[in-house]
Symmetry: C2
Subunit: 540 residues, 2 copies
């Protein structure tokens, strides 16, 4: 067979050639822009040519700090299309972490949205490798800024070459992109995406039993383009010729509903919070969402009620999926098998609420306390992943050795697998409670506690225990109306029927608030610290 | 990204793990067999283990002479799954050619269907590399045969190891399969398929806008498994978990209709002749074909009337596709673009009757008399192809240099490309008529002539011409009822409105029969020879 490498710019060339009339609907700070793939192609070539002139060399990183819009899409192809590496920067990180990753990646040039300029100004003096700042503004003039040297994106493009020939690597394993993922402690960790990895992952998104991205689709990536390449949707939409709606900065659930209706969106992707917001809006307003053939939901587990509401009330298929920055990200996706279609609605919901099946091309292994687990939907183990779009290291990072061992990515996610092979995330390895050689899912206990009408929130953490190694203790915040009116015993009695006896927490500690991190997740580490002497205190 | 090679056995492992309950419906000489992918997996491992014991080494070729059934499917995975190369042999070739390709490929072992044993016996003495013959029979006893040493497939399997661990290459470019394609003159030419090529081609078959092979499909490959891997359908059905119907030896259109109805086939694939036969049967009998979501048609151009009959009368979407042994084979596939759906039925038929668009992952270039052609649906040129599932040579064959140049496969097919990028095959390079520096399609003229009620068949060939280099001359066979009743002028007048003046043949030569090759194609070479002095005869 011919030695033809899989490359990112080839995907755009395909769209320029076969989908030149299809277009991108891009929302920026000045409003809606419509650009055909022919125009996007020419603008991307201009971008690639000027990056060349700004001194970006093969293998150099170019950072983006931007929302989902057409200029960011041009960067997705223009940077790898001139030999550079597209480094999408999560603008929600702390300024410290942003400065760290720009320096650690050694970004040469930054492409910045106008409203993110102040953030970059804040860290400007710490940046050691950046040679130029390009502001992606709609305005004719650059905003006032202390950044220097600073360029106007459109002005640079007007000086660029719309016939620039993309530079494709001979070796498809060369880097095309990178993204940092936040760590529990310490600095974010960098993941490098190769041309090969991106192209194969894009193919996986086009498979009929995966996201089935198609020319007839109108896609809407709500998931930010700075989060694992917006789950690959911009690449897939380009390659397969979908009309692509990019929602721009600071959108609301209402705006999403309006865009779905106006642009007849068929496929959209985002985290559960987004869909909770959309659901509320759909219940208030009168939006036509019949064009939607699927909502793709990942990032964290979607509550069953959410899935049910979309599927039964709004007749919108809700596809639960799982992945991480390290996995490009799509690796697991929930679909009913053909012989499950005549199951009862409840049984189907049970399946749909799992994360689902490994996508073709990726392999998994689930390792519990005694080696590989039984696939019985009960036994728990850590999910290990292997495949051509799974990272093999963190970029120049000592922490690689903790996550990448024997050719497998150790995800840190604890899962069960049912007889059919469907994966269900039940916990994080660091949060699971190891009691007497068995594993207890903190998340399952929390969900059970939070189903009680009096409970506002609940976190279950391990405390050290002399006999059982670890035991679960529940930290519970009661709703205001129930403060001091519900006992520990009542809560434990409430959940007892659902679990084996030894799963039931040894204690319930009422508190006013559960400590959380910047994105609202429970800081269980802090709770474990707080209660590490719980056992001694019991006996004293 | 992890360095994980794309390999053929991984696809079967995926099916064993996630689709163990799905099954293969296999028709052999004794009847219908139903085997789950779990069983197919174990049997394939047994096969791989016994090939090992029979002395087949890494890189050795193992030939198959077999119809479409489960044992052939086991060979598809078992041979590459132990490091061997699956060599599917076209049993319709002449015995001479069959002996040639077995020796040329250096097959170590042959897997043979019982009804093909006599064919192999005929050439047995010429075979120089074969060390063992395995007969894939349902019977307990081997048939009477002069082949030696000869083995019983099922008996060997019973001695095999159902836990055999597949051997996967570290380098995905290693060969996994091969297939010979007949040449116009001389011996057949061998094409080697790599693990990488097969896996990427299989992914392409799963894309939503391609064949969209899915777990919910029931596939039926009518195209033989000895023709370019049955267009990859057995690989795709396994990887994506489709139920797979394999029609076995000597089937009839009636049998196909029965299988579609009984097994609720959703996707089937074959050449136009098959669909012409099925159409006739559907018009006679009362078959329920509503399960069919698509007929995939390739091998040669499908007549518009055929496409129309399936789509309008039987409401079965008919997907026209194009490929060749050298291209794995899928490279071009006809689909309407989303904005073409509200075209008139005639316009849509016009588009659907073209071969269609290049599949993502493959590139094309069309080179005419003055370099790359205009995409205007009129200019003609040779189709050149490039991509990771396109061959880069013929196996140990001097003729490679004619077809593989500058990294492109020169297909020998003359095409037009319309403004949308849709490819239409109009001729073979050797048959196109080069008149005054312009190209004339012999096929277009033939089709126009054959539309006349009096014409039974027509072949248009080039004759050498002093002024114009070449001119077209039509060879026409009239229907019996019209013999001697239709003039040359009448036929030319009939087609004149459809063509530019200089396209009209200079002569019509009536004959009793047009010479044909073994598969029924016009032997235009013989006609060109016969009429090479046509011009001189005109002036004399």
């Amino acid at each position: 067979m011919q030695n033809v490498p899989l490359t990112v710019p080839s995907m755009l060339e395909h769209a320029e050639t076969y989908f030149s009339k299809k277009f991108v609907v891009s929302r920026t700070h000045s409003g809606i822009h419509r650009l055909s793939y022919a125009e996007i192609g020419q603008r991307t070539r201009r971008l690639a040519s000027i990056l060349n002139k700004l001194g970006v060399k093969k293998g150099d990183k170019v950072g983006t700090l931007a929302w989902n819009h057409h200029r960011h899409l041009e960067a997705y192809f223009g940077i790898p299309g001139m030999g550079g590496v597209l480094h999408t920067i999560n603008i929600r990180l702390s300024p410290n972490h942003i400065a760290y990753i720009i320096n650690h990646a050694e970004d040469r040039v930054l492409l910045i949205d106008p409203d993110i300029v102040p953030l970059v100004e804040k860290v400007r003096d710490e940046l050691t490798t950046v040679k130029a700042f390009i502001i992606m503004t709609d305005d004719n003039e650059l905003p006032q800024t202390t950044l220097f040297p600073v360029y106007h994106y459109e002005q640079l493009l007007s000086e660029g070459d719309s016939d620039f020939q993309f530079i494709k690597p001979d070796d498809e394993n060369e880097p095309a992109g990178m993204c940092y993922t936040s760590a529990t402690t310490g600095n974010p960790k960098g993941v490098v995406y190769s041309h090969r990895g991106i192209v194969l992952h894009t193919m996986a998104l086009g498979l009929a039993d995966s996201a089935a991205v198609s020319e007839s689709d109108v896609t809407l990536a709500i998931v930010p383009m700075f989060h694992a390449n917006a789950w690959g949707l911009p690449f897939a939409s380009v390659w397969f010729g979908s009309t692509q709606v990019l929602p721009g900065p600071q959108f609301t659930p209402q705006l999403i509903a309006e865009m779905i209706e106006r642009e007849k969106v068929t496929l959209t992707a985002g985290v559960p919070t987004i869909w909770l917001g959309l659901l509320r809006i759909l219940e208030q307003g009168n939006y036509d969402t019949r064009s939607l053939r699927a909502i793709l939901c990942g990032g964290s587990a979607a509550p069953k009620a959410l899935i049910k509401a979309f599927e039964t009330k709004h007749r919108i298929p809700f596809i639960h999926a799982y992945g991480m920055t390290e996995t490009s990200p799509l690796v697991v996706l929930s679909r009913l098998k053909s012989y499950q279609h005549d199951f009862s609605d409840d049984e189907k919901l049970e399946i749909r609420a799992k994360q689902g099946y490994i996508v073709p091309g990726v392999e998994m292994k689930v390792v519990g306390k005694d080696g590989e687990i039984q696939w019985n939907g009960e036994e728990m183990g850590e999910l290990l992943l292997r495949g051509p779009w799974i990272a093999d290291e963190y970029y120049r990072d000592e922490r690689s050795k903790d996550a990448f061992k024997d050719g497998w990515l150790h995800t840190g996610d604890v899962v069960t697998v049912d007889e059919e092979g469907a994966v269900k995330i039940v916990d994080r390895t660091k949060d699971v409670i190891k009691s007497g050689g068995e594993w207890i899912s903190s998340v399952d206990l929390e969900n059970a506690l939070m189903a009680h009408e009096a409970v506002f929130e609940a976190a279950v953490v391990a405390v050290p225990h002399a006999k059982w190694q670890e035991r679960p203790v529940a930290c519970v915040v009661l709703k205001d109306a129930f403060k001091n009116k519900v006992s520990k015993e009542e809560l434990l009695d409430f959940i007892t029927p659902q679990f084996a006896k030894w799963w039931i927490p040894d204690d319930v500690i009422f508190m006013d608030e559960i400590p959380k991190n910047s994105v609202g997740k429970f800081l269980k580490r802090a709770l474990r610290d707080q209660f590490k002497e719980w056992e001694e205190k019991q006996s004293s």
